[in-house]
Subunit: 248 residues, 2 copies
């Protein structure tokens, strides 16, 4: 079940647009606003929403905080947690990544609640929500901008919410081991041709194997390299034969 | 070694400020701008930078793209990758999370390069950089706003760049197993007092164990609950004795 996203008393329409855009980027569509400012088609809300101006943003619901608490498993976002278990308002908390893992096995209507630009959710609001979530950041400046906090959170939830990712499946793109071995064979032959002594050749081949092992080459990369090495070997061999002829 | 962050020909000062803020949130400080617009203290660059207006933003360097290529391991960010290995400009790519893992074991000066708001980095620029990085997002709308893309990327690099995170170490906050077992003991005693039949009690205790096992309660939570259960048990016991007396 995809979570809904609620913003409590946002002041800046631009932030509403930014969050709507992040929602569309990461496959979410249900936007709830508690006491929002007025914003029209010519506002920064629409200006910052990208393609979400077509659907996520205009389809928002205006709701009350009470309605969220009554109808959802509520997750309140905060940059500032309590330090330890002696206070419960902002403790314990989950991180967005843990939240994604937890929600994966839970079938419930969940809403992520983001607070005001200046001071987030109040302690009174946080005391009424079910779960506190906080983005790990630098101790010296942990307060993300509202739109950025929402973007990071929705990014982490993408495993739950993105049906189809834009990136091709890279695992299928790695060259077959046999192709890579073929390349190593060609490379070894080249070393032979250029007259590298056997013990040095073994060392060189181990090095090459380590280098390509780390890089996980694609089939295309290995085929190209193998071709280059083979042609270099042919050229070097015929030159070597010519040199030998010249010597005789 | 903390990566530098470069923005190539940003148009909107607000985006520069947003990225500077994300840098400070995630422990980075070296901002490079290629052909930036003019922006002063009263611009949106400063308006959006939060506390980064004090250091990261005013300390930026203006550089050329050539200088980045010459002096750094360059990582180019793009929302659009090639589909397969038949094109090399945007393929293969890493994701920000993979990038963080890779950089953890590499000692080199790295720069993350973000492109223009409207169309990112050109193919010509991408062909000159060392590594391509792309944020997994929804296939139907993978293009994040520049500031949001940078925020997600820097968030993922935090394991390399954040010296001290604002969040307390929650692992130390879980209640000791002995405390939790003490609570189970008190709860079991309460079930006994309220007259739950043995076979039902075992079932109840298994359920309670599962519920609290998932929640990883803190010491404070368990101590509070154990106190409540103990008092409930005492009250129930004395009532039970009174009832017994009344019966006789």
């Amino acid at each position: 079940m995809k979570p809904a996203v609620a913003i409590v008393e946002p002041k800046t329409p631009g932030n509403i647009g930014t969050i709507a855009r992040a929602m569309k980027n990461f496959g979410l569509d249900d936007l709830k606003l508690v006491n929002p400012p007025e914003f029209g088609r010519d506002s920064e809300a629409y200006g910052f929403a990208g393609q979400a101006r077509e659907d996520v943003l205009p389809n928002y619901d205006e709701v009350t905080f009470d309605e969220l608490v009554e109808n959802y498993h509520t997750v309140g976002m905060t940059a500032t947690t309590n330090e330890d278990a002696s206070h419960h308002v902002r403790f314990p908390f989950t991180t967005p990544r843990e939240l994604a893992e937890n929600l994966e096995t839970v079938a419930t209507d969940t809403v992520l609640i983001f607070g005001r630009e200046a001071n987030g959710l109040t302690n009174e609001e946080l005391s009424r929500i079910d779960e506190v979530c906080s983005i790990p950041a630098s101790a010296s400046y942990p307060a993300l901008n509202l739109g950025q906090a929402a973007t990071v959170t929705l990014y982490e939830l993408r495993t739950l919410t993105v049906d189809e990712c834009q990136l091709p499946d890279v695992e299928r793109e790695r060259a077959a081991e046999s192709e890579i071995e073929g390349f190593y064979g060609a490379f070894s032959a080249l070393l032979d041709t250029v007259g590298q002594p056997t013990e040095k050749r073994d060392k060189n081949m181990r090095m090459v194997r380590r280098l390509f092992g780390r890089a996980h080459p694609t089939g295309r990369e290995i085929a190209t390299l193998r071709g280059i090495v083979r042609r270099a070997n042919e050229r070097a061999s015929s030159n070597a034969r010519r040199t030998n002829r010249d010597d005789t």
